[in-house]
Symmetry: D2
Subunit: 361 residues, 4 copies
């Protein structure tokens, strides 16, 4: 390996060289939303059984079922997104099956091969703006079985999509319905990675709801890590035939938290008094303020995202100037004269942060 | 499967039927030690880079290196014990190798096959009181290579031990030295599962220290979950040749926490002002008070444990009477007339709790 | 690793230092039975489609179904035993399940962790003379589900037995029926490794037949490699609910032979004119001649095997003297004064070979 | 799954509806070359030790080392191509690494996910005519390490190419040298899948030789199955630092043949008296006769292949007419008016076969 030295470093990837006053790098820069933290503090000294068998976890599951209008759904809590994807996908696929996904899907690019490490191929679908179409799914499955040698190829065993996508784009309700329909026609589960689901629902302005997801998907997860919890993702299984032995699978994948109630407590906080919606709405509103500000100054909006992620093409000199004061990420390699950048808002972003950013523009 | 119904339940294993006033079931019943929680609250609104590249994590690693007197060790933070064991063992073994362990070792019994799920066999060694001997290791390795058909068998590629063991027993310093010596003679890494390391060090009364572990092991982990953090285990790699690409492996195993600083902050709290030692000392002192109380009443001490886990044989009627007021676990199946039970103290246990327990005896 | 040098050698394990005149080391020392070879020669220039879709393979499957009196069974052909075990077991188990087996079962000892390499734990049952009892299976499964923490343990997902066992011992029909019954009561598939099945059936003297196996097992394989083919094992699936996607699994496990008809042709030869039975009967008769000869000379018969494997305890000087003329294997380590040895007959063994052996005794 | 019924069928893929007089479907339709078969017959009754430790296997390895002018190379024999690729790639990669390959590489398309089943991702490179360029490799590796988040992505750990490719195209010597150079500069092993290597060497007309491959690759395999053996592939390891424990890995992957000498005997036959070269030269000459015949009749040559695989675009009516007498494969889906077809010659193809084909044109 060319880079043993780097890999040997104990700290991953980025080195934080400074603490910037305002940061739009991503939505997991901060701790927990104060209401979530408050709940963790209040319940800290309770003594409860482990691994999620406590009353908080049961209640959080009930609240999520209610929010999803899915009284029979099963709800499981895991710690992080890659862990959740790897565990769910491993549980849904037979040995000879792979998971269809967009080429730039998180599982295909940014999970260090966690899906393959549990034995499954990611089957790449044609992709537009981070999305896949029902037609592409149908074409993939039908071509597969039309090929005489299909037993020598990895069978499409499920569909993975992100909502919203890695690019901040969104499926419309009718697109989701078409995907759901094509999957069910082919008897293939539809799984939605909802790492930023709360922001997506807010961005949909009510056109897509949790009950819609519960109705259209077989399994999806509601991300907490990027939505105000310290960590935690809630897996919702609406298809009763699937993931029948999920708890031992969680344990095997290292995702069964000893003090499982921490997940329950945090999701109670999110779902009890509308915090989940409030966080989403606020972050999306601020993201659109940012978008408008860049538009007003004549900068190109690279992807027309209604969510908490915004992508612009900026001259490198603007990037360098902004970087002195504001945190954000290059999206792809730096170009010769201009580059694409990403600005992300989160539960912690305030109107003051956006004011300052606009000031620096 | 005979038990689909049970496995389908979303909540694992135990159902908590009540909230008892005092509980000695295990050491992960409670949230975080107040000093740890305080630190999480204080740092909550900091904005830092993700995945452990923040200053808190760097500082926690430095504090641990210092406590271990191992300035060149690498330190990594993961979320839970099974995850840590699976990731470390997967990283240490070649494909054709397995991990030697005690028959009742945690990886062989209580991790739902996480080691096998990443492709490796657990090679069972003869065991006494949860421990394995240097002689048994030596015998295993030598018999293996003496067998003409060894290429058809799983090669012993590393040794896993727990300190303290699942039974609350402890290796003496000379036993650890013998294990280290036999491993190094055979060029086999020694890995110590320290889920309850802090209690073990306290119980050793200074005869075994973190620098001893750092000197004798190739890799070990310092458990946080059972020692006052919300979650978190610190992996210490003292052999520079091993685990050279551990960060991507953590990611692949679902163990790279997005808000990685949460681990750093908590281990800073544990290692800054002696909290780790204080927690250990207190819990061990209280466990020995419990042991003495049972002895005083004439009950059999099943395993002579100096640690925070205590094992007694009690008449079933005593068990039933105590159970009405106190939480503790049956250790193995219930006998006809008497059964073995386990009492565990933790950072949250107080002298008042023990007074009450003694009162109920 | 202590033995890099040895492992690096391109040739495995044994070095054949000489060609002995008569060899009883094992039953795969020789090529194919002349009738099998003849068939390969006769069909050599046929042009047929690959991967087992040819008429020979279809016909071999039909012959086996007929011999098993199992008109609805599916039959698949693989190349070798470890490959067969790994593929079948991987296909039968869910992720969180392991395979119960005798401690000295081939999958637990001599397959270099192939079962674990595909993610599954071997769950060891108490063993007597290489066998496991229905009571032990029942006890394992019931204890498992009686344990509150069973979701943290590997669930018993199937039973693996060998017929005959590694020790040349055999289950009686009533023992097989009891195993079948306990497995089906617990909804756990019973799989029989029949690497030496032909010798076992012959040794049973008609008390156990292929139809018995087909009736009692869910899946079993009929070994060819040790019964006169160049290579090849025939998997018989009698439970229609199992192994529904076995062909892609064979491919994934590297067990789908391009010129698949070679397997069909050989099993046609074995099952067309009673060759399978003739080979078994002959080898067993000669093995019993050997057993009688050793008994007559007063040597201890270590295991009372009615099959083609015989185990004796011999003084080391006898072993050394015999070794100059006859091939056989030490069974376990060499003792101080005497050691256990194994003599195996095969399709290639003749009365003349046995005469010579007796002469050397 | 939509096609349970099909997958449940015991016989894979194709159903051979008839025995055509001449077949150009593929190069594994027939048994062994007569000289190979003769050797198997001659040695059939030898008694030798198992698993490749016999003298034939040793001698075959020596002959291959000599043919490769690589006196220090290690040579291992496996049964089939998918098995060989899966075992070698699993042995070469660390957990966090994947294998770079052409999009249409055999491992990415036609091995039912065998690479992923052992935990590794196939990293797709831009491809032209089935080939990958040194520039593409370099670009992939450099972009990877230039990305800040590389620890979240699968590291390029080796390069897989086929020689010749799936499309019958070939790397020139300078292209191979460039690939070798870029791999070694990045410290990444170069592995060549030589399923049809013999035909490729013949097609190169002496511009590329076995010693060239041995010099430029770290590991490659010499295919036997498609070159006149019943089965068998010879892995040549020229980089002494790699695959140090390959024999146990072969066993674990189900690829260690009990009667291992069958592989040795067949490769002795191939490499003793130039049979390997003769087979290649004859098949390539006949393939070029076919190509010329199609050209002469004005049909489009789709890929300019100098090897034993030829690809033409034919009107569907011609395809249907030919199919009545001649076996060949559609290459991709059938078009509306014309389709691409593949004709393959093999060791068994004769001038008479080609005469007949031309007659039917």
């Amino acid at each position: 390996m060319p880079c043993d030295k780097d890999f040997q470093a104990e700290s991953p990837i980025f080195v934080t060289e400074m603490e910037k006053m305002i940061r739009f790098d991503t939505d997991y820069l901060c701790g927990a939303h104060p209401e979530v933290l408050q709940r963790l503090v209040e319940t800290n000294t309770e003594l409860t059984a482990g691994y999620g068998s406590d009353a908080h976890t049961q209640r959080a599951a009930a609240l999520i079922r209610e929010a999803c209008d899915a009284p029979d759904a099963r709800v499981y809590f895991l710690v992080g997104g890659t862990q959740t994807n790897a565990t769910v996908i491993d549980g849904l696929l037979a040995h000879h099956e792979g998971v269809m996904a967009a080429e730039n899907g998180h599982i295909n690019v940014h999970e260090t091969g966690a899906i393959e490490a549990s034995g499954h191929k990611v089957l790449v679908l044609p992709t537009y703006e981070g999305k896949v179409s029902a037609a592409a799914v149908s074409e993939y499955v039908e071509s597969f079985y039309a090929d005489d040698t299909y037993e020598h190829m990895v069978a499409p065993g499920m569909l993975y999509i992100s909502f919203p996508t890695e690019y901040g784009t969104m499926y419309s309700l009718s697109e989701l319905e078409a995907l759901s329909s094509v999957c069910h026609r082919h008897n293939i589960p539809l799984y939605v990675d909802g790492a930023r689901l709360g922001y997506g629902l807010a961005a949909s302005q009510g056109t897509i709801t949790l009950p819609d997801l519960a109705r259209l998907c077989d399994v999806f997860y509601i991300g907490g890590t990027k939505m105000g919890t310290l960590f935690g993702e809630a897996v919702v299984v609406t298809n009763p035939a699937l993931l029948k032995h999920f708890v031992p699978l969680m344990k095997q994948h290292g995702g069964l938290l000893a003090k499982g109630r921490l997940l329950g407590v945090q999701f109670e906080a999110l779902f009890e008094q509308g915090l989940f919606e409030r966080i989403g709405a606020q972050a999306v509103r601020l993201a659109l303020r940012i978008q408008q500000a860049f538009r007003d100054r004549g900068y190109a909006v690279v992807i027309d995202s209604p969510t908490n992620q915004q992508f612009f093409r900026l001259p490198n000199e603007v990037i360098d100037r902004l970087s002195a004061h504001v945190g954000f990420e290059l999206w792809g390699p730096r170009g010769a004269e201009e580059s694409v950048v990403r600005f992300v808002t989160g539960w912690h972003t305030t109107d003051e942060d956006v004011d300052k950013l606009i000031n620096y523009l």
